[in-house]
Amino acid sequence: MEPALLDPTYQRIPLRKSSDADLRNLSDERGLSLSLDDMKAIQRHFISLDRDPTDVELEVFAQTWSEHCKHRVFNAVIRHTVNGRAEVIDGIFKTYIRSVTETIMEQKPDFILSAFHDNAGFIRLDEQLAVGLKVETHNHPSAIEPYAGSNTGLGGVIRDILGAGTGARPVASLDVFCLGRPDTDPETLPSESVIHPLGLLRGVVRGVRDYGNRMGIPTIAGAIQFDDGYRCNPLVFCGTAGVIPVDEIEKQIEPGYRILVLGGRTGRDGLHGATFSSASLGEQSREEDQGAVQIGNPIEEKKAADVLLHARSEGLIGSVTDCGAGGLSSAAGEMVAEHGGEIYLDKAPLKEPGLSGWEIFLSESQERMVLAVKPENVDRILALADLYETECTEIGIVSDNGILRVSHRGREICRLDCGVLHEAPRQHLTSSHERIVPAPARIDSTPDFSADLHAILRDFNITSREPIIREYDHEVQGNTLGKPLAGPGGDCPGDAAVIRIDGSRRCVAIGLSILPALHADPYRMGQASVDETIRQLVAVGADPDRIALLDNFCMGNPADPDELGALVETAKGMSTAALECGAPFISGKDSFYNSFETESGTESIPPTLLASGLGIIESEEDILFTTIRRANSHICLAGTTGRETGGSVYERMKGATAGPAPSWEPDTAMGIYRRLHSAIRNNWILSAHDLSEGGLAVALAESGFSISAGMEIRLETVPADDKLDSAELLFSESTSRILFEVANESIDEVRRHFEGLPFAVIGRTSAEHRRLTIHHDDDLIINETLTDLKKSWKNGLTPYY
């Protein structure tokens, strides 16, 4: 009998003698979300140690090996079959993401300064400064508690930036939501525990608003996808960009460094977040899992950020990381993974007394950062914490024996070899995909293109996000130059957001793309998402050769070969496009089990990729907006329109069978982007707008929302790879197309500049009227006032938010 069993601070788990059934039960009962293989690997480890684990040790394994923390699906060996042809993928991450970055690192030395190994990756901004971006999902918490879910989602990703390098300054945030349609009939929801999309929308917007606004970080970019596929499993992405001096990117940690916890106190809130998010939702989730969701306290985090950035400016920080999923176990565990370390849980400031050891070590209480600093710097940091009215406490020390030791109430409650802990068994998965390129869709429509355009502008996925954007303070910090709403009235849509960076003459653009409507052809969806992200960044003035990307994947059940197959194909398409464009991945994240189990079956989301990106803008003068600025200027279009309406808003609106998804051609794409960029640098371009959802017609209308001039377009001039009909020219969502405005005096130079690429002057702006007129050969097919079109676009969401 081991006396430890009686100790209130921890229990010993009789793991060595457990049968397979016992192991499964143990994982279920404690909510560990570990597979039998994992449990057996842990069992073997303790048999080799000739002792049983403590509950703390078992929880540490569960947390460290959770999907959330170790990305086990993205590292798994996958046997993948496409159209009957089999291949073995040695890890999605390694094959399709890291390899891209490694190749580009060789092509562009000194551009990528950090990728994948830290809480966020960084690229070079200028001689002194680097810029990074991190995007996280918070899907499960938001599904059951939307306000708190998105609130702590943003709070968490801000901490990732604070915990990158020796502490980056958060300078901007983004948010992306995938929800069911706002007009979903509540009766059609499969379970009472599913929150209606409108409730989710209001909750998640306010959650982001209250965290971002209070932290004083402008929320400047975002997207909302409304699609039935997300009605049971909403997706909530939050991202934050940060700036750091180049020489502060490398963390430093040595034996003897003190481990400090800064910010909020530790409580029972948020236990098992990491393992909870590594399982699917069900009808009981609402009640059972609420304990895993917390309410954020942005002021606590703001104080911690103030201390941290002040301390970093004095050179006091050796290493820093955030306390996210897995709490101190994850933060301190990763921090000392190389050297080992000792953690004294008795020293951790608690919200309430009586927490057991594993609760303190695993609690995911918000707003905590973990620091490692030289012993002589401890006092100054504690003084800074006092100055900013928060707490900082020394809780441990870095050792040199490679062992993670945790003590509580005078007892050692955890003693694990860091090496074993960070070597989770590799999973083996199977996936398959049938790739079919369908015949072009035949869309039967009465040719009332004006009515179609109005309807598309009102579409939930196109209409203005103004009611939501206004709730976010997108101007705080005083650096938002490319605003989410701009143009003469300050209410026209932008392609990507742009911020100036204190201390640099360069600016940073942030763009993103999420195209779940293309899910029928995941390979092309992957390509199109990368292309759109780059396109947006180039349209606002970023250098196409200085762009970095992030990938955020979400899907349902990775054990389902078809779902996983679609994910693999998406990753392949994304990878190809990124490599061809020379755009490396610097961070990424994946989220699984976005499925909802009811008695009648499982509802999974369509495999979803959010691509986001950072682009460097050489100078403020290069920043472009989307809307028309002059009368008597030329409207130009670069890029080819194809007979590929698959997944387009138009096709969905008309209820047509899906045609082929948009294809992508790397040389054309990068040719256009580089040529446009040099034209921008030559001051030839007045405004630019990328063509995305809704195609050319929507891009033209949106460009006109400045109401600064009328627009007269001739559709037969549009570069196309076939003789297309009017609907295809207007509404196809072909990739790599950008619309731009050129003044009379520059048009000859611009024409010459684009020689050899698909380019045409497709129309003129006019001082005579304020209409959008579109002719196709002899027919006038659209003739609408810009004011009316703008009205349709502006008010689509107003009744719902």
Binding site: R209, N213, R214, M215, G216, N297, P298, I299, K302, K303, D306, D386, L387, Y388, E389, T390, I469, R470, E471, Y472, D473, H474, E475, V476, Q477, G478, N479, T480, L481, K483, L485, A486, G487, P488, G490, R500, D502, E620, I623, L624, F625, R629, S687
Partner: protein
């Protein structure tokens, strides 16, 4: 000896516009220093030419905006603040700072409350400069535009008071389109001395021309209105000429 006027910015937990406000002050010629509130003592207040309460969410603003910061200031610094004002000091509150000044009763009576629709509103507001010769406003034209970003910026007061503030010249700035349903469209107030100045709009967010949402904005070739706001008070405190240093104010 440092000749630049000296401004200190009080930073409470949750204050978040301190960096850009300090930047704006420095750009206009001030020596500006951000002071975490715990560090502020009587001498720091009395040694400054201007005390600035920047925007943000002091202590979270979970109860009435500015309430906790008001109590904190009153608890320890009432007397020194009084001496500072008697000695000719200037006190500027922007957004949350304005809310704090209102709670402290240093400005004409009234209250800044939540918007009728309960929402936060981040937008640009056209403003009327009602005191064109005021030390804070003298370099600005009659109509300007500045960003606003708040959920509790609606000015209310007992019947007739708001209108009387406009008549008596205590209302320094009013909204042209009353974006938050304030009584008498009041966006900014001063006290009787003119040295306590509060405003909901954010001049520090329109320091540079490039911060305007319209690339074809024609107000000024280089600077935004916020620059001239801080430049006005800078030149006043530096004892410089009263000639406005504007390059142009004409709209094409």
């Amino acid at each position: 000896m440092e000749k630049r006027p000296y401004a200190i910015l009080l930073k409470f937990p949750g204050t978040n516009c301190d960096v850009e406000t300090a930047r704006a002050l420095e750009t206009a010629g001030f020596r500006a220093e951000i002071m975490p509130f715990r560090q502020v003592v009587s001498e720091t207040i009395e040694g400054a030419n201007m005390v600035v309460l920047p925007g943000g969410f002091s202590y979270g603003d979970y109860i009435m905006a500015g309430r906790l910061a008001q109590l904190k200031i009153e608890h320890g610094l009432s007397a020194s603040l009084e001496r500072f004002m008697e000695n000719g000091g200037y006190l500027l509150g922007i957004c949350n700072g304005f809310q704090i000044l209102m709670r402290m009763g240093l400005l004409p009576a009234g209250s800044l409350i939540a918007h009728p629709d309960g929402r936060f509103a981040c937008r640009w507001a056209r403003l009327r400069n009602r005191c064109p010769s005021h030390p804070f406003l003298r370099f600005l034209p009659d109509e300007i535009e500045l960003p606003v970003a708040h959920a509790e910026g609606r000015f209310v007061a007992a019947e007739g008071l708001a209108e009387s503030y406009v008549e008596r010249g205590l209302a320094t700035l009013t909204y042209q389109d009353n974006v938050n349903h304030s009584f008498a469209s009041i966006a900014g107030l001063q006290d009787e001395t003119g040295r306590v100045f509060g405003m909901m709009p954010h001049p520090e967010r329109f320091l540079y021309r490039s911060q305007h949402y319209d690339p074809d904005w024609v107000g000024d070739p280089d600077w935004g209105w916020g620059y001239y706001f801080f430049k006005s008070i800078h030149d006043e405190l530096a004892g410089l000429s009263r000639e406005p240093g504007l390059k142009t104010h004409t709209n094409e």
